[in-house]
């Protein structure tokens, strides 16, 4: 009985596989086949917006586009096998947000040899087998937060930084972008900088402890909106809501809403939809010859914008 069930499942799978193969054969060569590959669509609105905008822009430009997801924040091996499958399928363009800068390199090499154009989005990869890397310039964006902090504090005061997970390149860029620029030309001092591990509970603990160590704190910079909830709870529990201002990073809907609620003063907004659209435009441009691959820079900044009480209402409409 059980064996029969397994047999039926296998036959259904086989049938689906045949259908997919048949669909593949129908593709015409004058329309590019675009594969959008991301970490996961569940639990990560940023990746979801990134993937959807890349796919939608590609379809607007006349391509066939499909989203593939590795199915987890750490499913590196799955992502590599997706790339290998795409090489077999002979797609023309891969728009990808690599899970690991090193692990995808051999697969990228194979894909390039097969004539596939690759663009990295949000996360970069090592080697030079891809066309370009489209992302927020995290260092520059965090520097915007630093400039605003200097303005708000009139050039003097004590600040704390809640960092991302240790070893995260994105987190390090934001941390350094803020810390290096906030002290430039001001008498502001960074009195504590500890990791919140991209998680609210850890961010809360780190903030509680840093507040204990520093009786005089004027401002806290959070390297991501995913930690700002924990930071707010820590500040509230310490009874120091009125003396401490908070700036966050991401520009998510939750973050922008916190500005409207008066809980934080600013949020550096990234634009996942711009990252996806630019990636699709650039890759398709090179594919159809309207762009010269040699003219495309190695890094394209999708831009960032500082959200404050002044423009929060506007930004809430476009926030991810």
């Amino acid at each position: 009985m059980v064996k029969k069930g397994i047999l039926i499942v296998m036959m259904v799978l086989l049938f689906c596989g045949t259908l997919a193969a048949a669909a593949q054969e129908e593709k015409s060569s004058d329309v590019p086949e675009v594969a959008v590959v991301v970490k996961t669509l569940t639990g990560d609105v940023f990746q979801l917006k990134l993937a959807e905008s890349a796919r939608d822009r590609a379809i607007e430009l006349g391509a066939n586009a499909v989203i593939y997801q590795a199915g987890g924040q750490t499913a590196v091996q799955k992502m590599v096998s997706i790339i290998e499958d795409l090489i077999v399928k002979q797609v023309d363009i891969i728009l990808i947000s690599p899970l690991d800068a090193k692990a995808v390199v051999p697969a990228f090499k194979q894909a390039k040899e097969a004539g596939i154009t690759i663009v990295c989005m949000d996360n970069y990869a090592e080697g030079d087998d891809y066309l370009t890397f489209v992302s927020t310039d995290n260092y520059a964006a965090a520097a915007m937060a630093a400039d605003y902090a200097k303005e708000v504090l009139n050039g003097s005061g004590n600040v704390l930084v809640v960092e991302g997970a240790p070893g995260s390149a994105v987190g390090d860029d934001r941390k350094n972008g803020f810390k290096e620029n906030v002290v430039k030309g001001s008498s502001i001092e960074v009195v504590g900088s500890q990791s919140g591990y991209w998680a609210n509970d850890k961010a809360m603990e780190a903030t509680e402890n840093m507040l204990q160590a520093n009786p005089d704190v004027d401002l806290i910079f959070s390297c991501s909106d995913v930690m700002v909830g924990g930071i707010l709870e820590a500040v509230k529990l310490a009874g120091r809501e009125n003396e401490i201002k908070i700036i966050s990073f991401d520009g998510s809907r939750d973050g922008v809403q916190l500005i409207l609620d008066g809980k934080i003063i600013a949020d550096v907004a990234q634009f996942p939809t711009k990252v996806g659209a630019i990636a699709a435009e650039t890759a398709i441009g090179v594919w159809n010859g309207s762009l010269n691959a040699n003219d495309v820079p190695d890094f394209i900044d999708a831009g960032a914008e500082l959200v404050t009480a002044e423009n929060a209402e506007e930004m809430l409409k476009v926030a991810f």
Binding site: V45, N200, N209
Partner: protein
């Protein structure tokens, strides 16, 4: 002969004391690190900071109480799924509280229902673990590894991957409130630890857990219903993870599908640092709670001194290794080698 008599007296004495000698050992560690931190940072030795450390140890402390039972019961007993159970209980509770995705006023009945369901979800995960281990015969490592992945997946699914901010005041009180100046999570941790301590020392159920951990065949031959006890232990551990989920959600004032991520590692660390042997049959909950407090103290010190956090995990690693080495050294000394 004389040695054995001594041993018997000392073990009888040990049963009468509220905690064992290795618990005293860990208290010395906590005091020593505390002394060092007091000298290194002027902000360490303050009531507010001790309150911080205790609050921060509470969730891992609560989890470590259940994990201690699992590990004492031996036979490779381990539960890797507690962190994921915290996540799934947390988001299910939020789902019951705010079915329409909008935070509003919540009545007392809804509140009890939500908390009850969080506990029930935790216990259910524990029951599944227990059945897989005791009746299907899977190694605990494998059964709970599967639960760790599955529960995290379901948590992401039921919450659509989005956290819920702003929980009802009663839940927030469980995480942030105070009772006579003591943070409520700490009250829960202490009460739970004392209750389980009594269960382990006084009840036949407790003695059977040690018996199974000491030698499962002997336990079986002496008529202990080994499978039922194992099922009960893993169920209880799931239930305790449900308690931890409510406390953590209240503390951070949100329900998050990734709540409790990697907590299983900190919990196992607390139990091992607390002197419970991974081989089973030996140990206790009081030591585990001290283990959790020690880990929170180290984290606190790193944050106070603004040491780069990359050092945090290596330091905890060294603490765990040290605890195991001391455990084995004591065992060798006791067996007279």
């Amino acid at each position: 002969m004389n040695d054995r008599a001594n041993d018997r007296t000392s073990s009888r004495l040990r049963q009468r004391l509220p905690f064992t000698l290795s618990d005293a050992g860990i208290l010395i560690w906590i005091a020593a690190i505390g002394l060092f931190l007091s000298l290194a940072s002027p902000q360490f030795f303050a009531k507010a900071n001790f309150v911080n450390i205790l609050s921060q140890s509470a969730v891992i402390g609560i989890l470590s109480v259940g994990m201690t039972l699992v590990i004492i019961s031996g036979n490779d007993g381990i539960d890797l799924s507690v962190g994921s159970i915290v996540g799934i209980s947390s988001v299910t509770m939020a789902l019951v509280l705010f079915p329409d995705d909008a935070a509003g006023i919540v009545g007392a009945a809804d509140l009890l229902l939500a908390a009850g369901i969080a506990l029930a979800v935790g216990a259910l995960c524990g029951v599944i673990n227990g059945i897989m281990i005791a009746y299907v015969g899977l190694p605990p490592f494998i059964a709970t590894l599967a639960m760790m992945t599955a529960a995290r997946g379901v948590a992401a699914f039921v919450s659509s991957g989005r956290p819920t901010y702003g929980l009802p005041p009663a839940i927030v009180f469980l995480g942030q409130g105070r009772l006579f100046g003591i943070p409520f999570p700490v009250v829960i941790m202490v009460m739970l630890a004392l209750a389980v301590f009594v269960v382990l020392r006084v009840t036949t159920f407790g003695m059977r857990i040690y018996a199974i951990g000491g030698n499962i065949r002997t336990a079986f031959l002496s008529g202990i219903q080994v499978k039922k006890i194992q099922l009960a232990i893993y169920t209880l551990n799931g239930l305790i993870a449900g308690i931890a989920a409510i406390v953590l959600s209240g503390r951070v004032n949100q329900a998050h599908p990734e709540a409790g991520m990697t907590y299983e590692m900190y919990t196992i660390g607390a139990v091992v640092i607390g002197g419970t042997s991974l081989m089973g049959g030996k140990g206790g909950v009081i030591g585990s709670v001290f283990g959790a407090i020690l880990m929170a103290e180290v984290q606190n010190g790193i944050n106070l001194l603004d040491i780069p956090v990359a050092f945090m995990r290596p330091i905890l690693g060294i603490l765990i290794i040290t605890a195991v080495v001391i455990d084995q050294w004591q065992k060798r000394r006791n067996s007279g080698d």
